[in-house]
Symmetry: C2
Amino acid sequence: MAKTLTIALDVMGGDRGPSTVIPGADIALKRNPELNFLLYGDEGEIAGWLERYPDVANISQTIHCEIAVRMDEKPSQALRRGRRESSMWRTIDATKTKQADAAVSAGNTGALMAMAFFNLRTMQGVDRPAIAGIWPTNRGDSIVLDMGATIGANAMQLVDFAVMGAAMARAVLGMKKPTVGLLNIGVEEVKGLDEVRQAGRILRKLELPLEYHGFVEGNDLGQGTTDVVVTEGFSGNIALKAAEGTVRQITGFLKRAMVKSWRTRLGYILAKPAFDALKEKLDPTGANGGVFLGLNGLVIKSHGGTSAIGFANAIELGVNMARFDMVAKIARDIDLSHKVDTVPADKSVKKAAKS
Amino acid sequence: MAKTLTIALDVMGGDRGPSTVIPGADIALKRNPELNFLLYGDEGEIAGWLERYPDVANISQTIHCEIAVRMDEKPSQALRRGRRESSMWRTIDATKTKQADAAVSAGNTGALMAMAFFNLRTMQGVDRPAIAGIWPTNRGDSIVLDMGATIGANAMQLVDFAVMGAAMARAVLGMKKPTVGLLNIGVEEVKGLDEVRQAGRILRKLELPLEYHGFVEGNDLGQGTTDVVVTEGFSGNIALKAAEGTVRQITGFLKRAMVKSWRTRLGYILAKPAFDALKEKLDPTGANGGVFLGLNGLVIKSHGGTSAIGFANAIELGVNMARFDMVAKIARDIDLSHKVDTVPADKSVKKAAKS
């Protein structure tokens, strides 16, 4: 039997709180019988739900929290009101104190990010944290980071993101030596940012369980050209939302076009299995959650509006990463990557810029 | 009858050169009988095609050019080999010498950009040029810039892009007071870049034929939240390619899913009108071409692989902008926008950063 793992759950997080979190925990437990849960939230509410899920009740410990961070609360406000006391803070804190192997919350992203950074701090050697997401591609899933934690990144920060993303691909997608691409733009004349080029030179030298592929462009995201795609948070967030928006735009357009005549309506009914397959592929509950990387603890953000199955998938993300001992492996790889002699690369950049 | 306009065409540009350009010119001429063309390229080849399109022959002048820029040529190489002599250079040059009201080429993007910038230079008051594209949205077309001409942009450069994009929306989409959004990321904790915030403050003060909407996110692109979306070239290029990649991903996925069974195949046949409508909506030849803004001349880049209809649409983009006297209007608006007192906004940024 696999080693027992403890996962901390912010029961009050998300649009539907315990009514999603507890059934989600039940699904995850059925798939992974070695789990224990720490349930942070309103004792009374949690008890009511645990009556309906006795298996979860058996292996869980409830920790009462007076404060629940609201979905519309500003991060600064949430920190002021909910520091130390809220279910969100205490869920995160459980990974810091090693009571839990991972923390999962479907709460307010900004507040969760602020609390996680503030409480856990970045791990040694990592300047800036990143949010990694799982991107469904033509070739399977890819890991894309940063989705918006860090605006702008220098070469070494991009290298750190690559190392962290590759560790996540190994933990979550089960790859031995994931391929890594640096997101760049292909217009010949400009050839991308200096820091991206320099990060590429450093990555080429690394002897780590990752294979540096080179630059990739925006269209490579959906293509699945590499297992990991690295960029700074501004362009990463915009790429993510542009793609999500395009999915909604196309499916919305097709839906409207399909009901225009009896012929297309009948066609839609017959072709429905194909649409269902598409929906499943693009369903955010399938690959649910962003992961905060580079912190002294594992924190998984599940979508606020997720279903019980989606929340269970977010729990399993945490389980896989904890089982893989991802934080320790990232620490080791970051350490190794910082030992690579990057000075010549720095010098060559300066020379190139002068010439 | 409308005023006669002269459009310079790089007949050798694009994957298929004259076999697309001359038939495209014929289509544009039928729709706009007041056009004249200057045809730059190989005299012999052009003459052969003009025999088949006598209407175009009647109103065109051919200028023989020895050199054609290749589609795979590097910009630096194209400049070295093709400066002054190539059909691409001379097409651009015709707008500089005022022999033509606009220049259209389906050639190599990097080379065209390099030659246009090098030959035409940026207009007075404009630091950096931008490439603007037409983005099909749920609400109609929007103008998005910069698509990759300028990596990074300060607040005033973003304001210039907004002014130029709004002028293009007025010229091409026929709007009186287009709405303008600044692309940003919505993660609370980070709230976007300083320069984007400062550009927003300046835009709010401008009294120009544009309505500043505020920040928009990646998903607003497909939604069509604003008529114009402004960002610097790195994120703009990545957003564009991420969206294009997503379109290909979804349509490819649906196609494969549709042939999986007889039921879905029949469904596809019946639902085909809906798919055809989608294809037409997303067809790049419908809204063909990027426009170089901020230069002393109008240059339109048509897709390299475009059809005759697509090339005709690119010509008409040029026609609409020339008729609108867009370059002069941009010059006036840039001038007005630079007279707005931006010093207090600058100071408030510094203060905010300190506090």
